[in-house]
């Protein structure tokens, strides 16, 4: 099973094993990963599953759709080149062992 590591701003990391095809958002919400809300259930409509993907995985990610792009402009934490919506990234063999950072909730 591929794994996802969610790293919190505190440095605390959670590794989760998930089935292929599971989105990062669904994996986080199902396992109670702090800082990922996923309010709209994965339709790229609410921007509450914002994550930062570590650069070494960048070229294995699916392209950013127009829907995701416009929603990333509405994230609460700052958007960077590493920003993605967790609901739009589904686990594949290529992404196995992916590491992502959860946005900071510090002022």
């Amino acid at each position: 099973m591929p794994t996802i590591t969610f790293t919190q701003p505190t440095g605390e990391a959670t590794e989760i094993a998930v089935a292929e095809g599971t989105s990062l958002m669904r994996a986080a919400v199902t396992n109670g990963v702090e800082g990922i809300v996923g309010e709209c259930g994965g339709q790229a409509m609410c921007a509450t599953c914002h994550i930062y993907v570590r650069p070494e995985f960048a070229d294995q990610l699916p392209p950013i759709s127009d829907d995701e792009d416009e929603m990333l402009d509405c994230t609460t934490a700052e958007r960077t080149d590493a920003s993605r919506l967790g609901c739009q990234v589904k686990m594949t063999d290529q992404l196995s062992s992916i590491v992502v950072d959860v946005p900071s909730d510090q002022e």
Partner: protein
């Protein structure tokens, strides 16, 4: 995390350009949707003291008492279980396998047809996808904002022309949101007054628990008018497409029955809800002068006030779900086929989540409210509402009428529980 190469785009709603800010606090990690519930729960207490007239007048003291007793009650007057805690409402929203939207004997299905709001996936997603990008932020920014601004200018002008003592809801918020909705839907063969009549009569049907034949007649008449208007518009928009919902639907292989039901649902939710949020938000600000002054000084706070208003008085206060199996919800056992009311109006004032929850306070810590629903049925019109109310209407309103205030010689009335908003709001200025 470096922001050196961050894209310079601006969120069209908050105006944020990527200032580091706290992310939404996670309130959901105690909830694990989809896991089988094996432990037996307790039976739901019976709230036989709850009456519909009391709920209509002011549901919030009732919700306070219910939440303090149990997250779920059987309420004989409403003939369903009412779910009032944040955790329980959120668990339902995120788990459509156990909590179906496809309610049996649904009044909404009778009034409006079987829309996406009462379908589960995969059927729901086909309908939802058929709305395309019409309601999404990109189209709003490129297309709708300019139209909303022109409509706002027109109806603010009419409010001013009517003079002090005019009603904020009926002389401004209702026609403004109705005209916006008319164009979003693509009803170029109808008026905003038609949209208001259709919306109210079909919503009355959706809430016709008393089975009043007159209510059904009016609802059916509006439903037939909408069908005729859609039949006329589809071929016209197929030839001359625009950015409207009907235009997008005209070229899709979606059954006419689904188009009709979805448009009727949209007429209901797309008019009363933004109308009510606009009026409730302005009413709350006019009653809290310190918060009003803060909003006037910092335009970014329009969006904050909007969200706080949706939390404080969710315009859709309750919606139905039905259990597909025996479940234990927050310790309460519910048999298969139980009819539930998910009471967002109560969840959004749960003291377990929100400090001093009964107060309207735009300065409260940001936490996710449930006012737009959640999961696959998350409100499709969320961004349209944010744009037309918080981005277009409110800033222009306070600029054009800086001394707007509630008319001290007349009473404002807030009412309702399934749907809640201002039914009377006389204002004055000058």
């Amino acid at each position: 995390m470096s922001a050196t190469n961050a894209p310079a785009a601006t969120c069209p709603f908050s105006g944020d350009t990527g200032t580091p800010a706290p992310s939404s606090e996670n309130l959901r990690d105690s909830v694990v949707p989809g896991l089988p519930q094996t432990s037996a729960g307790v039976e739901a207490p019976v709230a036989d003291w709850v009456t519909i007239p009391d709920l209509y007048a002011d549901p919030f003291p009732i919700y306070q008492r219910m939440r303090s007793e149990s997250p779920v009650h059987w309420v004989p007057a409403v003939n369903r279980y009412m779910v009032t805690s944040y955790a329980a409402c959120h668990e339902i929203e995120q788990d459509e396998d156990r909590f179906s939207a496809d309610e049996k004997n649904s009044l909404m299905k009778r009034s409006m047809g079987h829309s996406m709001l009462r379908k589960d996936n995969p059927e729901h997603q086909v309908d939802r996808d058929s709305y395309g990008s019409t309601l999404r932020p990109g189209t709003i920014k490129k297309h709708w904002n300019e139209i909303f601004a022109a409509n706002n200018e027109k109806y603010l002008g009419e409010l001013l022309a009517k003079g002090p003592g005019a009603d904020f809801v009926w002389d401004y918020a209702a026609p403004y949101t109705a005209e916006n909705l008319r164009l979003i839907c693509g009803f170029h063969n109808a008026t905003q007054e038609d949209l208001q009549r259709w919306s109210q009569t079909m919503i009355d049907g959706t809430g016709n628990y008393a089975d009043d034949p007159d209510v059904w007649d009016k609802s059916a008449a509006s439903s037939a008018e909408v069908d005729a208007a859609i039949d006329e518009m589809l071929p016209l928009l197929a030839k001359n497409p625009d950015n409207s919902l009907l235009s997008g639907l005209a070229s899709l292989p979606i059954p006419l029955e689904a188009i009709r039901a979805n448009l009727k649902m949209t007429i209901g939710g797309g008019l009363n809800e933004p109308r009510d949020v606009l009026a409730t938000t302005v009413w709350a600000l006019l009653n809290h002068s310190d918060q009003l002054e803060a909003v006037k000084k910092n335009p970014k706070l329009h969006a904050t006030a909007f969200e706080e208003s949706v939390r404080w008085v969710a315009p859709i206060g309750m919606y139905p779900r039905e259990t597909t199996q025996d479940v234990v919800l927050e310790g309460v056992s519910l048999p298969q086929g139980s009819r539930l009311g998910v009471v967002l109006g109560a969840a959004n004032r749960d003291p377990e989540v929100f400090e001093d929850p009964e107060a309207f306070n735009i300065f409260r810590p940001k936490k996710p409210h449930l006012g737009f629903g959640g999961g696959v049925h998350f409100c499709a019109g969320t961004w349209i509402a944010r744009a037309q109310v918080a981005q277009i209407a409110m800033p222009a309103l306070f600029e054009r009428i800086p001394d707007l205030r509630l008319d001290p010689s007349a009473v404002s009335v807030d009412a309702g529980w399934v749907f809640r908003g201002m039914t009377k709001m006389p204002v004055t200025w000058g």
